[in-house]
């Protein structure tokens, strides 16, 4: 195996010598290492058909089980297998029309229990696809990647399927008997030994039930804990206003945004809506050349940071003082601040913010300290933003509290032997609780431990009883959105495994066993609804996917006196400095804990779609790694290499390091991340599960093992020691390399205003139109797509949406290391400029559907053809797997089923498939079809009504999911269609035009809106 270590110094030299705009995709590319050159020489690394025997076929199939696509393909030879049966209804439900999907509104709850509205597509009673609910304020029709993938969890064959008592299968009734026996004793003591642990509760019904429970057992306690909690946000609000306050943002009104370590475009309540509003202000068109400006101060590169017009990376300990400097620049007295090296930057930022009073916005990240949150509140107040770009309301949580303190109190009680019965409703605290609490150890002192969960996980293993929980698509409930809007969750399917919901378990605890979730939720709203006709109210709420008028009204808030901040600031800065005396000299680093961008806190560990989804910036799959900056890696002598021989294309060997933090150690591979702050390292948690299921168990490294309650998000004193080992990581970054062509085009808004046609001018001058083939004529529709790179935030929702819509299989880590991932749509990420603080760009790349498609000409069996509407059709039953088409595709968007990736056997996965798309078998080429099934459906609907397909009637899966509305699809033969108008924009350009492929998919060039004052300084400085 040939390997080379990265020479970061050489890279720096190359970058400083580079003139003009230089884009690069990975450090290896930049270094021009021999191995990388070799990788490029092997024209098409994905084609390596080496079947190394590291993973036996049996093992491979086992790994794949949960997440692979599957289907009922009848053999193509014999048209009628003689035994196929048709099984009609006995009594057909009203409104059911076989062959036509129905849509039901519900909601998906994630971070902090806060929900986003959904419409779920159901085919004959099987939910198959998730879309956003256009009525819902947090969705407006879009979704994020996790909501898209949550449907796979519903059908996951590894979900727990039976009540489990101490390792043996048991029954719900046996559980009731056991529980009631124990509760008898508690009744006398008022529940003194009774504890309930939940995740964050926003459901009004569940909160009421918990209230009833506490009324029945006055001495019982209800604790809440989630590993990704919003304690700091709540504490910050308390510090600023003296009370818990929920804040949400109106990014549609914000001209200048300052994000303080906040990844508001990817995670958090309202992130989908924020992305929509944010991107809407970046949609520069002819005649509309204003766009918002985003400043980001952060530690770990995030997609929000990638969108920034100005970005600074700091160590976590530096952020608070930097924020104080900004605050004092805005006239908030924050005690003594030192003149830092960024004084001019701060000055320019402060002036920019002040220029936009009432239309600026300061957002503090969930993980930032309470003080930073309070300062952000103060800044928004000073800038007169409250009530304009930032809205304060009552808290969304039913019972806001400090979750860390809540968990700590629970553990203390367990330690003291006061807890007789512990009921855990969801969550996986044994895995996610901070290591120093020794939650698992203390749990053993509890007399009766009950866990309600989707999986028989780490927590279940230590409990007496495990009750399978219903998935949110299987049960009734209710929840609140970021602005308080209530959605009633309705089930799309009867529970697959006889699961119970939290409502049903609580009904047992409150002495109403047998009451269904439906009754609980409906009765709650029957009592609350003021509508004279409850049935109408109920049906309207279910149909709309929200209860109108339940959004919280803005709440007048009053900031505590500003002097308070200077005192708090002074004390905390002293504390920070004593705790963290210059980390560089002590040779220790700071550590940053963050939820994983795809599998979150670990709850999606068994979701193959999310495991295989490349992380937005690192493009790693199936693993986590320690992220460090290039400079830090250089100092510590860390690196990673590509292995190019023996079918290891795209496999990256990363140095294994040992992390030491406060006496705890962890081994993990390291990943060099351009743009990361120096002197610190980021670890994502959620990986390293031991009982996740066959997909998630054993992937990655459990960083919860070194996370303590004192340093939940940031800590000091991290030591990183390089070991002699290396670890293979599956990274999609090295595949599909387009070799430095003019693919992403970027200009500043000023340059654009001066020369709107710059994007088209920068295309290849040798562009030729000559072709030997007769031109295609399109008399009817001509489908095309335009992708606004300026709006794209790189969140990956489109990738998962495409996977769900088109029955795309998961291939597993080993196949990804061979470059065989099957995603029809990929999001390329490019870096530009300096190694330590590069600009980062995202570019979604589906099939280009070329007019002169190179793939069509080389297929020996006519399996890929040009349609009358300009699509490059792919005919699976003709394909014999020569892969010539893929070889000849300059965009590398074709995917080949090297092995039988689709799961044809797991029964639950059969329910998941989109019945309108073929499930592909081994040996077949596939690629983006522009969602041909959706086009045909729309065309048939239009023909039946004797009309043309309306603009916007065909919505591709990626387009529907996109929170930023960056993807627009439609008929380019209609001059006034949305897509035609975008293609007429001066920013419109195509990829690799010099090849005369004439792609139907085109891009709108990226724009930046730098602050002229800062840019001048930067140019001057460099």
């Amino acid at each position: 195996m040939k390997q080379e270590t990265l020479d970061l110094a050489a890279i720096r030299t190359r970058l400083t010598q580079a003139r003009g705009k230089e884009y690069w995709r990975s450090l290896e590319e930049l270094a021009g290492t021999e191995a990388f050159q070799e990788l490029l020489q092997q024209e098409f690394p994905r084609q390596a058909s080496v079947w190394s025997n590291e993973v036996g076929r049996r093992e491979f199939l086992k790994l794949m089980g949960a997440s692979l696509a599957l289907a009922g393909l009848s053999a193509c030879g014999s048209p009628a297998p003689t035994d196929e049966k048709i099984v009609p209804y006995v009594r057909q439900p009203e409104e059911t029309m076989l062959g036509k999907p129905m849509f039901f509104a519900t909601a998906f709850t994630l971070l902090g229990g806060v929900a986003s509205g959904l419409l779920v597509e159901s085919h004959e009673g099987r939910p198959t696809k998730i879309e956003g609910n256009p009525n819902h304020p947090a969705s407006l029709g879009s979704t994020d990647a996790m909501a898209q993938a949550s449907i796979l969890t519903l059908y996951d064959p590894d979900r727990s399927q039976a009540v489990n008592n101490a390792g043996r299968i048991s029954t719900w009734n046996a559980f009731l008997t056991a529980l009631n026996g124990e509760l008898e004793g508690e009744r006398l003591s008022g529940g003194a030994g009774l504890r309930i642990l939940t995740e964050t509760v926003t459901s009004p019904t569940l909160a009421t039930q918990l209230g009833q429970f506490l009324a029945k057992f006055p001495k019982a306690k209800w604790h809440q804990y989630e590993p990704v909690n919003r304690d700091n946000v709540r504490a910050g609000a308390r510090l600023a206003f003296g009370d818990y306050v929920n804040t949400y943002y109106r990014l549609d009104r914000a001209d200048v945004i300052l994000a303080l370590d906040s990844d508001f475009l990817l995670h958090g309540p309202g992130s989908v809506r924020y992305a929509r509003d944010f991107a809407a202000r970046r949609k520069v068109r002819q005649g509309q050349t204003e766009m918002n400006r985003l400043y980001v101060v952060e530690t770990t590169p995030s997609i929000t940071g990638a969108m920034a017009d100005h970005r600074l990376a700091f160590r976590p300990s530096e952020i608070a003082s930097f924020v104080r400097s900004i605050a004092s620049g805005l006239g908030i007295s924050t005690g003594p601040t030192r003149e830092g090296p960024h004084a001019q930057w701060i000055g320019a930022l402060a002036r920019d913010l002040k220029r936009h009073r009432g239309s600026s916005l300061v957002i503090a990240g969930d993980q930032q300290t309470a003080e930073v949150h309070a300062l952000a509140h103060a800044m928004n107040q000073v800038l007169d933003n409250v009530g304009k770009t930032i809205i304060c309301t009552d808290p969304v949580e039913a019972s806001p509290l400090d979750q860390m303190a809540s968990l700590r109190a629970l553990v203390r009680d367990m330690e003291a032997g006061q807890v007789k019965i512990l009921v855990m409703l969801g969550g996986n605290p044994v895995f996610t609780a901070p290591a120093d609490l020794r939650f698992a150890e203390q749990l053993s002192s509890v007399g009766l431990r009950v866990h309600l969960g989707l999986y028989d996980d780490e927590t279940s293993a230590l409990c007496h009883w495990h009750i399978p929980e219903t998935h949110y698509l299987e049960s009734w409930s209710d929840t609140r959105a970021y602005d308080g809007t209530v959605t009633i969750l309705q089930p799309l399917i009867a529970p697959l495994y006889d699961g119970k919901s939290a409502h049903e378990l609580l009904a047992v605890l409150t002495g109403q066993p047998g009451v269904s979730s439906y009754d609980v939720v409906r009765n709650y709203w029957k009592q609350r609804s003021r509508s004279p006709d409850f049935e109408l109210f109920w049906r309207t709420a279910l149909h709309q996917g929200l209860i109108a008028g339940t959004a919280f009204p803005p709440k007048p808030v009053k900031l505590k006196s500003l002097e308070f901040f200077s005192q708090a600031a002074a004390s905390s800065s002293v504390k920070a400095e004593t705790r963290n005396p210059n980390s560089e000299t002590q040779n220790t680093l700071e550590i940053i804990f963050r939820p994983d961008p795809t599998i979150f806190d670990g709850r999606f560990a068994n979701n193959g779609w999310l495991q295989e989804l490349p992380k937005p910036l690192t493009k790693l799959t199936w693993d986590n790694a320690v992220l460090v900056s290039p400079a830090t890696a250089e100092r510590l002598g860390l690196g990673h290499q590509i292995g190019t021989t023996g079918g290891e294309h795209g496999r990256i060997f990363a140095d294994m390091v040992e992390l030491r933090l406060a006496g705890r150690t962890l081994r993990s591979p390291v990943w060099i991340t351009p743009g990361h702050a120096d002197g610190c390292a980021t670890v994502y948690f959620g990986y390293g599960r031991t009982r996740a299921g066959r997909v998630g168990t054993g992937t990655g490294f459990n960083t919860y093992a070194i996370r303590t309650s004192e340093a939940l998000w940031h800590g000091a004193g991290l030591e990183i020691r390089k070991t002699s080992e290396q670890y293979p990581l599956a990274c999609t970054q090295f595949h599909h390399n387009m070799e430095g062509r003019d693919l992403v085009r970027v200009a500043s808004i000023e340059e654009y205003r001066k020369n709107p046609n710059w994007a088209q001018e920068s295309s290849d001058p040798q562009k030729t139109e000559a072709t030997l083939y007769p031109p295609h004529k399109y008399e009817g529709y001509a489908w095309g797509m335009a992708i606004d790179v300026n709006a794209c935030i790189g969140c990956n929702a489109c990738v998962v949406a495409c996977q769900a819509e088109n029955n795309i299989p998961v291939v597993g880590k080993n196949e990804v290391t061979r470059g065989r991932e099957m995603h029809w749509l990929r999001v390329d990420r490019y870096y530009k400029g300096d190694l330590d603080s590069p600009e980062t760009y995202h570019q979604p790349v589906p099939c280009m559907h070329c007019e002169n498609a190179p793939c069509e000409l080389v297929c020996p069996v006519g399996a890929t053809n040009h349609s009358a509407e300009g699509l490059n059709d792919m005919v699976y039953n003709r394909c014999v797997g020569t892969r010539y088409c893929s070889n000849n595709c300059p965009y590398k968007v074709r995917r080949f089923n090297f092995l039988q990736y689709s799961d044809f056997t797991t029964p639950s996965l059969k329910l998941l498939r989109n019945p309108n798309v073929t499930v592909r078998s081994r040996g077949v080429m596939e690629k983006c079809t522009y969602c041909i099934q959706r086009i045909n459906t729309a065309k048939i609907a239009a023909e039946k009504e004797d009309r043309q397909v309306r603009d916007g009637e065909v919505v591709t899966a990626c387009q529907a999911a996109c929170p930023a509305e960056a993807i627009v699809f439609g008929d380019i033969n209609a001059p006034d269609s949305h897509v035609s108008k975008l293609k007429a924009e001066s920013r419109n350009y195509a990829l690799l035009t010099e090849l005369n492929t004439r792609p139907r998919t085109t891009y709108l060039a990226k724009l930046r809106n730098p602050n002229p004052e800062i840019e001048k300084e930067e140019r001057h400085g460099s």
């Binding site: 009848s74 193509c76 009628a80 297998p81 009609p88 006995v90 076989l98 699976y876 073929t918 004797d946």
Partner: protein, 216 residues
């Protein structure tokens, strides 16, 4: 030097060369014929059903419209197989005690579906939509044959791609006025081509032969 081969070799070689060619042609033709025979296509082969349901009786004798049972044929890709309830609409009143209909009553009683044997099954990779064909004036009879004359249902056409393309390439040969779609008896007029061309214009019928029209 003596002849190596006997004179008869001349004949033998001619026979084997031409015979071989003829054999290859015959074999290919035989395979093609076999592939189109009802043994493979099941055209004209009546299928047994759990209840010997007769379209001949219900359509031919009773005159029940196709859409009474196949309710979604005008709206959905799938024409719809009637639920047991539809059978019982009548058969709770007439033939209510017939032993032949016991499986129907049993289904209605127990809530378990009747398992019909599928007669028309499209090959894999093909997506067909009934509603648009009905809308464009393709008669039921065009594809399904004279169902009103079938005691047990059989397949009237092969459902092969070449058969689909006969119409997709030249719809004028097959389309009929919309009001005649459900008419089993409709006979194409002598000037079908003229009528077909007129209807194609009127109904906006195009010759759809792109792969993605049916394959996805």
């Amino acid at each position: 030097m003596a002849q190596i081969f006997h004179r008869s070799t001349n004949t033998l070689s001619k026979v084997s060369i031409f015979g071989g060619a003829i054999f290859v042609v015959a074999l290919v033709s035989a395979l093609a014929a076999f592939n189109r025979s009802s043994f493979v296509t099941e055209v004209g082969v009546a299928r047994g059903q759990p209840v010997p349901f007769s379209h001949k009786h219900h359509v031919g004798d009773d005159g029940i419209d196709c859409r009474y049972c196949h309710t979604s044929v005008e709206q959905s890709s799938f024409a719809g197989i009637p639920p047991t309830k539809t059978c019982m609409n009548c058969h709770s009143q007439i033939w209510a005690d017939s032993p032949t209909l016991e499986p129907v009553r049993e289904s209605f009683r127990t809530g378990k579906s009747i398992q019909w044997t599928r007669v028309h099954n499209l090959p894999g990779f093909v997506y067909f939509d009934h509603s648009i064909h009905v809308k464009k004036g393709v008669g039921c009879e065009t594809c399904h044959g004279r169902v009103d004359q079938m005691p047990l249902t059989w397949r009237a056409n092969s459902l092969y791609m070449e058969w689909c393309l006969e119409c997709h390439r030249a719809p004028e040969r097959f389309v009929r006025p919309r009001e005649q779609v459900f008419n089993m008896d409709w006979q194409p007029p002598s000037d079908q081509l003229a009528l077909g061309l007129k209807l194609m214009k009127e109904y906006n019928i195009k010759k759809l032969t792109s792969c993605s029209t049916c394959h996805r």
